[in-house]
Structures are given as C-alpha cells and as structure tokens.
Amino acid sequence: MYNFSYQKVTSVDDAVEAMQKADDGKFVAGGQTMLPTMKHRLASPSDVIDLGGIEDLKGICMDGDAISIGAMTTHAEVAASSDVQSAIPALAKLAGNIGDPAVRNRGTIGGSIANNDPAADYPAAVIALGATVKTNKREIAGDEFFTGMFETALEEDELITSISFPKTEAAAYMKFENPASRYAIVGVFVAKSGDEVKVVVTGATACEHRGMRL
C-alpha cells in the first residue's frame, strides 16, 4: 500500500468538497474491493475519503411503492431487513449471498454499484427491477447507470446517496459461483412487473447486459 491522506467526513457536502480538493481522491464505502486493490499496490489514490460517517447515507425505508436503500447500507443489513424481505424477497436473498459474512458486514450497496464489477450481484437487480440510482446531483435510471466494465455514469465528484427499488410482483436471482472467488461466473436476475418480465445477466461478459424484456 502506498501512502495516502485519509479523512472521514460526516456529510455529503463535506465529502464532495474533500474530493474536489484532492489531487486524485477516492471515496471509500465498505472498501471490500478498494482496500485489497490498494494493498496490492494496484491503486494509489492521493486521498481516501471515508463515507462511513455520513448517517444520511444509511438505512432502509419504504417510500410509497418503492423501497429506498441508503448507499452506505451493508449487504448484511439489506439481507436482514424485514422491509426488503417483504417487498422484494429476491433482493434480500441476493444480498445475503454476496461474498462471506465479513464482506457482507462491511460491503455496501452503494460501493458495489459504484464499483460495477462485472461479476457483482447488485447491478443485475438494479437493472432488472428498474431501480433508480439517486446521487448528490441527480437521479439516474438503473438502465443507464452501468456504462462498462468498472465504469458507471457517475462523475468524479458525484456520489450515490440511495437506490430506490420499485416493488415488483415476482423476482428471483440465481448465480453460478466461481469456485475460487465465489463471485458470480454468471448470475441471472428475473423480475416480473405487470405484463413485463425482465431478465438481466451479470458476469459472463464485461458489463451487465440490458437483458431481455419478455
């Protein structure tokens, strides 16, 4: 790991300001991808801005017909949430099968989506469920958020505040795990809403595929 400056901020505004001041800054959420990458000296941000102190980014709440999950909500919290379990059980199940308990207790939904690992689980759900990614600047449709391998529509100083998942009639997620990393070699999220069924595949190629509308 190379040297870097570390700061823990308590508000979204402070986070953005810190990022704007940094030479080559990085937000860190749960750090489950970023810290191993830094330990291997594959990433060397000048500043690491820890979002862990921003209370506004945490928590799950029902918002009309949608469920809103704060960006800094851990996978374990999503998996254990009775709101998520009753509104979109497939999403709770997905969260409960990410990585291992240590990863689930640190890793966050915002971090996972912002990182857009082609083998990550959440992006398939975001697209298939027609979720909206809310940032400090705007709202981005799930369909338009993921732009390429480890690439998203986020700008440099833009950070995810929450993800809003509309309730769905029925959904399911299944993945075939890499036996070593247990990341999805391929994962498929299927969601039915009205007379539309969306199938989104994660893994398999460099970026989530728009999937099919059946």
Binding site: H40, N178, P179
Partner: protein, 783 residues
C-alpha cells in the same frame, strides 16, 4: 493400556496454545533492531538480466542495503542444491543448472529472485524495491509439460539440452513388451496429473540474527526439518559452520512438503543478517507464496495394461513426462522417479512393469514434494487405468481389483519395482469399504438420483503408499545425499517430569500429543508431566525432520528405544535401592517392582536417585537421560480402499460428493482421533486436486492462478462427512507396529473422485480438476 497411552483419543496438548492465539510462529518473532527484507522478483518467465541498477533504491528512505547475486557470489555463498541424484539413461547424473539464491545474469520464472532490499520498515523496503532498475532481455518462455522437450523448443539451461533433466527408464522393457505382444487385451489411458500450489495456511517466513560476539547466526524459519536446513546451508551454501548456525522451526502452520526445502529467501536472510549486522525479517505474502513456493505434481503420462482373458494384469507400461520447473528444488529429482515409479505396482501382483520418466525444465516455479509426493501421481494413474481395464473387460471395478490383489499370504511381497511390501490385507480393506459405502445398494441410489435429473456415480481407489521414510542404506544406494534415520532423547528431570526431544518436527500433526502418549504408555509417567520438544537445533540432537509420514514410524520408534534404555538403567538403580538383584526387577505402569514382592519404587523416585546419587550402584553413571537413533529396515506401506459417490448435475456440470468412505491400514493407531483428522485433511486435499485446484501458467509464463480469487482451494462445503474405518495389519519390521497416515487421503482420494465421475457419466476419462465446465462438456459429449 496406560491412561492416555496407546489407543487413547487424547485431546491435543498443543491445541490450547493454538486455539487461544498463543502459538509462536516465525512472523510473531520481532527482534530489537530488526530490519525487513523484500525481494525484487522477475516479472518475466524467461529473460537475460542485462543490468541491475540499485543506486536509486539504495538511496531511498530507510534503506539499509540492496543486495544482488553479485554480492552473494562475492561472499562465497553457494548455490541452492538438489540432494538426490537420479542417473539419466546416458549414464550421466541428472542435469543440474546452477541455482543462485539471487539471479546471476538470467531469470527463469516469474517470481525468480533478482535482488533483495533491506530496510527499516517493510513499506520502505517495498517502496525501494520499485526503484531497482532491471534491464531484461525477454526470451520466449517454455511452460507446457508435454512439449517442453520438443525439437526446436526454447532452451532454458545450457547444461540441459532439450530442457531434459533426466530420462529415467526402469524395468525390463523387453519382457514387458513381450507380455504386451501376447496379451488378450491391452487397456490404455492418457492422463494429466494437474499441477498444484501447496498452500500451507502459514506462508513461509524467516528471521535471521547475527551475533558478532559469538559469530553465530540464528535463523528462525518455517521449516519441517531444522537440522536438514542447517546441514545444507552449512555444507553446501557455506552460510556458516554447523556449530555456528542455529536453525529454529518454531510453531509452523502447515507444511505438506512445501517447507522441507531450502529456499532462496531463507538463505538470503541468513546471509544478509550478517552482512548488514542487523536482524533481518522476511515474511512471504500470499502472492509470493503462489509464485515462489515449490509447486506439486504436474505430470503428463501414457499408461497401458496388458491383461489375460480373466482380467489378470500381465504387464504395465508407463511413459511419463514430469515438469520440474525452472530449477531443481531440494528433493525435486526423486519425486517423479523413486517416489513414483516404485509405487506403480499398487496393490496388485502385476509381474512386469516398465516405466520411462522424462523430467523436464520449464519457465515455471520449481516443482517438488507436495503431500504424497510421487505416490498420488502413481496412484491416480494406476487406479484410473484399473477402472479402464474393468470397463474394457466388462468386469466390476471391485472384481477386477480383487482378481489382481496381492494375496494376504504373500507378504512380505517383493514387487517388480524395488519395493518389498511389509504387510497388507487388501481384500479385507476392500470388503470393509464396500460395506461402509453400501456398494450393493448403489444401483438403487443411482436410479433414485436419475428421477431428480442427477447422474450418480461410484468410484473406488485401492492405494498403497510408501511411508516411514526411510532405510538409510536403501536411499543411499538410490542417490540420496542423506541418511533417513531418526533420533530421540528422553530426559527425566530430577523432579520426575520428562522432556522428550525429537528430531522430527510438528507443523500441525499433533506430535506433542502422540509422542507423549508413547512415553506415558511405556514409562507410566502421567501425560501432563511429559513435554515434547522439537524444532530447534540448539535444543535437540540432530534429526531428519518430518515428511513422508515418517515421524511416528521412524521418530516414534527412536523415542521408544530411548525409553527402553531408561527402563534398563532404572532397573539397576531400583535394584540397588530396593536391595534386590537387578534380574529380579520388573517394570510396569511406572513402577520398578521386586518380582513377587510388594517392594516397589516409582520411576520418578528412580530419576531423583539418579540425579542425587548418594546411595547408588557402583560404577553406574548418574543422570536419567537417554538418547537413541532408529534407522528403519524398510519403508512402511499403508494401504486402503477409498470409495467416493458423487452426483453430477448434467445441466451445470456441478459435482457433489454425496458419500465418501475410507478404510485404511495404518497399522496400530496411537491416537485414533488425530489419525482420523489426518485422514479427513488428506481426503480434502485429494478432493481439492480432483475437483478444484489447478495451477495455470499462460504461454508467456505468467501465473494465471496467483491468488485465492483464481485458485480454488477446497472448503468445508465441498465435502460431505466422511465414513472412516480401518483394516490394520501388523508391519513386522516396525517395532511399534505403525505405518503412518499423513498422506493417505491425498493419495487415495483423487482417483476415487474421478472414477466416480467417469462412472456417473459413462465416460472413459476426465482430467483433473473436474471443474463444472469440464464435467459439463464431458456430459454433453457423452450424451
């Protein structure tokens, strides 16, 4: 039986410290004034080194020294050695390229050692290592085993034309060829034994300290054999004279063979601590472990069996290419030769065997012993071939094995491949395993699985291995540079407790318990009063260490012999004290008794008398402390039958092991609980090789599987609960009647698993690891 003696499931004495975080591993050691070493490693598989510029690194913050191969040579530190000679078919010794601990002019694999940076902190050493400028002249890499010796291949070492280390034929080729000519049927098979990264839980580490007052180097290492490290580093690397070099293997977190060898990093740390006159610490990170620990297996083979009309084996012919990597690791040459070809008879009375082994160099990490070492490769080849024979002959796999087993009354049995098996009852183990696995009920289970869309298969593996390594004369004749006896010292303290010094080394096997059980059984001293001490050349007498499931079968016998000497001496002391004739003294349960009387003296009192000899037999030396050496008359030959049952999902290629039964002959068990743990661990190791683990280099020689993200280790959810039982026989040459159990699972499991998959899919063969992709493809082509 003494309480806690032979046969008791004593909880492991060492586990309290391991489970409460009180273990003392090499990396736990921090010494005042310590510096940190970090190695500059080659990013290229094959390249000349045109220049190394260390000036910027040397000037970096916190750097104490930057050392290269030139510095090593200037100080007269010798190259790393291979300790076993194998004579090639041209009558010449195997080809051994010079293996400098820091490269001199050329690198030969990714991870090869170019320079070492010594700095005040590890971070500073890493930062400075990035400033070492190396000008490489990149050469094409040779990575594939099968084609390494092909015409026109890139040459790696000048001393090894065609990249061949040795061609080693063994057996009567003419007689074997003649048997094939007249055979009723010939079954044949091409197979690969996949390359493995051994992956001990604790990565390798070294801490070197030099005392300029005594001119002594103390080297703490992750070693399975401290005295062997000291011997090699003194006699061949000229690091320091033996009496000025102390090697300590403290708690070591798993070995599996990978910590037998003398590595570049260890030698460099030992040398550097004297050169910079500061303690030097190096701990491998996991990536370095993948790159530079010795790897295991990596064979490509063609095997043929000649059969008569009854399915009896008439002759076997095997052609093997074995990848030894870029350089010869310490025992590399013997693994695909003596430890492999000499086990090709397996449990069968095949009268004629001919084997050719071509050992090749490639631009990959050195390959050496990994749990089983040669014997898993032999067993996988033979037990797969036997299943192909069964299919070709229309015989049940159990039946063809039975027809060819060495009969129980034929022991000791001289095989056609050097080894003379000590004892065995192969039918007994097979019968017990078949019953344990409910072999007869398999058809019903397969039918039921079919109704769920699954294909169920059952596979047998009847293995034999050679343990208790090894009779010194025998290995000497084969070309080993050492004897393989073992030593022990059993010392009573004046207050009656006992310290047992063994030349073996425990790195997870539970010796501190098993050996204490031997002593409590023999001397009647309560087990809590017995301490087993190992792993420090300054504490224990010379010993050969732990590998080849030898610690109990060889080292345990040395302990028993030392105990016998104590009893003999104790009789003299007790006779004097009890005013009886020495011949009238009997020893039982810790007491010396005058036969036929109630006059007795506990061994603790005897020990006290020996240290406070105020009234003592005339002429007898004081002290109660005996040592013994034991050189075995033969190897020991554990054997058994393992049966694996799998369910294959033909849609995904996923294999689930639904049942695994193992029946082993380890001779007498000292601690059945520890033995069962060894069996479990060995099976999981073997399942890992069969289903998950596969070390892959790309054609440029980059290690593709260099982390746990890409290299799949077996986990608890990859295996079922095991059904384990025993079918012991008594090895006549071993005074304790023990055989060894550490490697059996890793040897028996791979063919059992693969035989189950081929059975499920109705296919001839599938290579390891049988990943879902490979299995799915096989299932598709099998229809």
């Amino acid at each position: 039986m003494a309480e806690n003696g032979i046969g008791a499931n004593v909880r492991r004495k060492e586990d309290h410290r391991f489970l409460t975080g009180k273990g003392n591993y090499t990396d736990d050691l921090n010494v005042a004034g310590q510096t940190h070493a970090y190695f500059v490693r080659s990013p290229h598989a094959h390249a000349t080194i045109n220049s190394v510029d260390t000036s910027a690194a040397a000037a970096a913050e916190g750097v104490v020294a930057v050392l290269t191969g030139d510095d090593l040579a200037a100080d007269g530190i010798g190259p790393l050695i291979c300790g076993v000679n194998v004579t090639s078919d041209d009558g010449e010794p195997h080809r051994a390229p010079v293996h400098s601990a820091l490269a001199q002019g050329k690198v030969n694999y990714v991870g090869d050692h170019v320079a070492v940076v010594i700095a005040e902190t590890l971070a500073q050493a890493k930062d400075a290592a990035e400033k070492v400028e190396v000008d490489y002249g990149i050469l094409p890499a040779v990575t594939a085993t099968a084609s390494a010796a092909d015409e026109g291949q890139q040459q790696i070492h000048d001393v090894a034309p065609n990249n061949i280390c040795y061609n080693w034929p063994f057996g009567d080729k003419e007689a074997v060829d003649a048997a094939f000519e007249s055979a009723h049927k010939i079954s044949s098979l091409d197979l690969i034994n996949n390359r493995m990264v051994t992956n001990a839980m604790e990565p390798r580490a070294a801490v070197g300290e030099y005392n300029s007052g005594t001119e002594e180097i103390t080297l703490h290492l992750t070693t399975q054999n401290p005295h062997v490290h000291r011997l090699v580093m003194s006699a061949f690397n000229q690091l320091a004279p033996e009496h000025k070099l102390r090697v300590v293997g403290p708690d070591v977190g798993g070995g599996f063979g990978v910590k037998i060898f003398v590595y570049a990093e260890e030698l460099v740390v030992g040398w550097a601590c004297r050169k910079v006159n500061r303690p030097v610490k190096w701990t491998s990170d996991r990536t370095e472990a993948f790159l530079a620990d010795a790897h295991g297996r990596d064979h490509v083979a063609h095997a043929e069996m000649a059969l008569d009309e009854n399915g009896k084996f008439l002759a076997m012919r095997v052609n093997t290419t074995a990848n030894l990597g870029a350089y010869l690791s310490t025992f590399a040459t013997m693994v695909p030769s003596y430890l492999y070809a000499f086990l090709l008879a397996g449990q069968y009375s095949t009268p004629l065997i001919y084997s050719e082994v071509k050992a090749v160099f490639t631009n990959t990490a050195p390959v050496d012993a990994c749990r089983g070492a040669g014997r898993p490769e032999a067993t996988f080849l033979l037990e797969r071939l036997v299943d192909v024979c069964a299919e070709d002959m229309g015989l049940d796999p159990a039946e063809i094995r039975r027809r060819n087993f060495i009969p129980v009354d034929a022991f000791p049995y001289q095989t056609p491949v050097v080894q003379c098996y000590d004892s065995g009852d192969y039918n007994a183990a097979l019968d017990k395993a078949l019953a344990l696995a409910d072999y007869d009920g398999f058809a019903g289970r397969a039918e039921e699985a079919k109704s769920r869309g699954k294909r169920r298969g059952i596979g047998l593996s009847s293995y034999v291995e050679a343990c208790g390594i090894a009779p010194s004369q025998a290995v000497g004749q084969l070309g080993a540079g050492v004897g393989l006896w073992e030593s022990a010292q059993v010392r009573f303290n004046p207050t009656g407790n006992v310290q047992v010094f063994t030349g073996t080394h425990s790195h997870g096997q539970g010796h501190e318990t098993t050996f204490a059980q031997l002593v409590t059984e023999q001397l009647g001293v309560p087990i809590e009063n017995i301490e087993v001490i190992h792993g420090d050349t300054a504490k224990t007498q010379f010993g050969m260490g732990t590998y080849g499931s030898r610690s109990l079968a060889v080292g345990g016998v040395a302990i028993a012999k030392a105990c016998e000497k104590l009893i003999e001496k104790g009789k003299k002391i007790a006779a004097h004290a009890l005013e009886a004739a020495e011949g009238d003294i009997e020893f039982a349960d810790g007491n010396f008794i005058v036969a036929g009387t109630d006059k007795a003296m506990n061994i603790a009192e005897v020990a006290f008398n020996a240290y406070v000899p105020h009234s003592y037999p005339e002429g007898l030396e004081p002290g109660f402390d005996e040592n013994a050496f034991f050189d075995p008359m033969n190897f020991s030959f554990p054997a058994g039958t393992h049966i694996c049952e799998v369910e294959v999902d033909p849609d995904t290629g996923e294999v689930e092991i639904v049942k695994y039964s193992a029946v082993d002959d380890f001779g007498k068990l000292i601690n059945p609980m520890i033995v069962e743990g060894q069996v479990h661990g060995g099976i999981v190791h073997g399942v890992g090789q069969a289903l998950l683990e596969g070390c892959q280099y790309d054609t440029d020689g980059q290690l593709v599987t260099a982390s746990y993200m890409d290299y799949a280790m077996p986990r608890a959810d990859n295996v079922p609960s095991f059904d384990v039982d025993y079918a012991p026989t008594n090895p006549p040459h071993n005074p304790l009647g023990v055989k060894g159990c550490g490697e059996a699972g890793a040897i028996g499991a791979p063919p059992a698993v693969i035989n189950a998959i081929t059975n499920a899919l109705g296919i001839k063969h599938i290579d390891m690891p049988a990943t879902p992709e490979n299995v799915w493809r096989a299932a598709q082509s099998a229809g």
